[in-house]
Symmetry: C2
Subunit: 366 residues, 2 copies
Amino acid sequence: MTGIITTGTGGYERLEYLDRLPVPEPGPEEVLVKVLAAGVNNTEMNTRLGWYSATIDVGTNSHSEVTSDDFEGIKDGGWHNKTPFPLIQGTDCCGQVVRVGLLANPELLRKRVLVRPCVAVIDDKGGPKSCWMGSDFNGSFAQFVVIPQTEVFPISSEWTDEELGVIPCAYGTAENMCIRANVKSGDTVLIPGGSGGVATAAIKLCKLRGATVISITNESKRDYVAEMGADIVYEGRYGGSGWKSMAADVQNNVNVVIDNVGGEGFLDLINCLKADGSYVCSGAINGPVVSLDLRTMYLRDLKLIGTTTWEKSVFPNLISYIQQGFVVPPRVTVFPLNKIAEAQKLFMAKEYVGKLALIPPPTTIF
Amino acid sequence: MTGIITTGTGGYERLEYLDRLPVPEPGPEEVLVKVLAAGVNNTEMNTRLGWYSATIDVGTNSHSEVTSDDFEGIKDGGWHNKTPFPLIQGTDCCGQVVRVGLLANPELLRKRVLVRPCVAVIDDKGGPKSCWMGSDFNGSFAQFVVIPQTEVFPISSEWTDEELGVIPCAYGTAENMCIRANVKSGDTVLIPGGSGGVATAAIKLCKLRGATVISITNESKRDYVAEMGADIVYEGRYGGSGWKSMAADVQNNVNVVIDNVGGEGFLDLINCLKADGSYVCSGAINGPVVSLDLRTMYLRDLKLIGTTTWEKSVFPNLISYIQQGFVVPPRVTVFPLNKIAEAQKLFMAKEYVGKLALIPPPTTIF
């Protein structure tokens, strides 16, 4: 089959487009999925760049022009310390089940499915309770991917493959954050960096719950973020006048902050919370190491919630929202799989709004 | 009546021992309590010192030799921005109800009670959901104190007044932390600074729940902390070899950290948590401003929980534990109320183990 092999930690030159890769064999309780569309996310670049290493303290945004040399010697750059390179990345997948393992449910065959990339694992030694498709084992940047049958969810929807194919990572992460922070009707939720994939999804999923959403984004993306459903949109970034207005207006006034930005603005975000409020995060593109005043946290009964492993209800919820028409399809631009570097560069430039999907070349193997 | 008036932010010279203070009048739903014993806690010193001000970034421990001059101009040094000096402090109280307001329950009269210092308030503007006796309104460092009838809990126990009088603040805070962090049977809990009032209480309350407790304290207090119930006790403080052993042994291995220490050791404490673990704090005597790596928090699904306002079940639980004999009385040394500065100095020297209680002079007013 054809796919992208990420050969190691480093820049775009680590992405090798290869044909003649072996089609993987599903184990007894696994299925083989033909990839119809695969979304592009921050996490694929973070993993390739080794950004999860504790030796790195700058934001993902600083990495747009790096080469392999910058990452020599990083040993703990992946989710579970070390990413198993060479690896087929790809966390998002809309696909079709084309083979089922000996003990897997044959009714899955031929079904169009969304793949849940967050696979629960039992770890008694204190490690993470999940592993991830595309980070811990081969993912969807190829014509085929093997996955446990428990992780494929048949979906019946008029959405296109690429509209579905950008959903799992961003919407799953956002839904999980909403669940963990218990976002509910009547809440006011602050979502900085509102044009990002997870942030956009979070705006929609908070609105779905009946919350009021406040966001902030660059001037050029303001209309997009409002269109996504944010009730109030400030313009600018940390340090600018729009950010300062937001910090002043919203101080002490929101129930939940849903953040993937982190960095220097963290303190202002915490100060926006009401007593008893929750800050929930699943990323930190502007810088992971922040300064925290424990007094603010305890005197105001705040909760800071880190989220990676998804709650069980996350994926069934998403399937249900889509099938019932509770969310509208995202805006998607499509690239052929061999143009992955172009797609990732466009993504990293942070000028484009909406999602990007990669489409593998057609195959007649199945 | 006789009592201690704290005249403003500053050192021990701010504590004025006065007689001829008016006995306060209970409102319709309040009661007048004769103070039998009042514990000494960090919070009374923090409040007098204005340590809750965001302009202060050192630990409480740095304040043992300060004078009023060091605190000139601090406007936000209290729980709710500004402490209403002149104030009678005192967060702990074992007392006897000697008068009831017009609409208060007359059956409370003559009862020996513990006073719940954390009074729930309704705040729609995002502020704290509680106010505190001794910080936001007059407390127990006097012969009498007025309190809403909902905050007095009759107790039937053979414990002495001083044993009961040191319970509310430390044990209430610890019980609240156990509840908020959901400490349960089979958990491993790390409690640094194990000889402190809240930490000692937390050790007992975690053991009561069936958890395994790991602690660390100075060599001289090791036996005391073990006697309190800690299963494993390391010796030393942050930076020393005992701390390093603990950080290495326990890394990635505890379900909950119950912390009132903060400071430079914070990072090690976070790294001791298993994935899905909780760090809960209600103080930061070694320094409130810490560095947090958001990646650690989100990749490991950690929760950081700040606690001040008590859950409703906290105080009924404590009364029940004492009445049923589930906890043994704390070790208490008694000072007359006019020796408050000596008691606080002994407390701040951090050499003494156990609790300190102040006893007001006898009165025949009621």
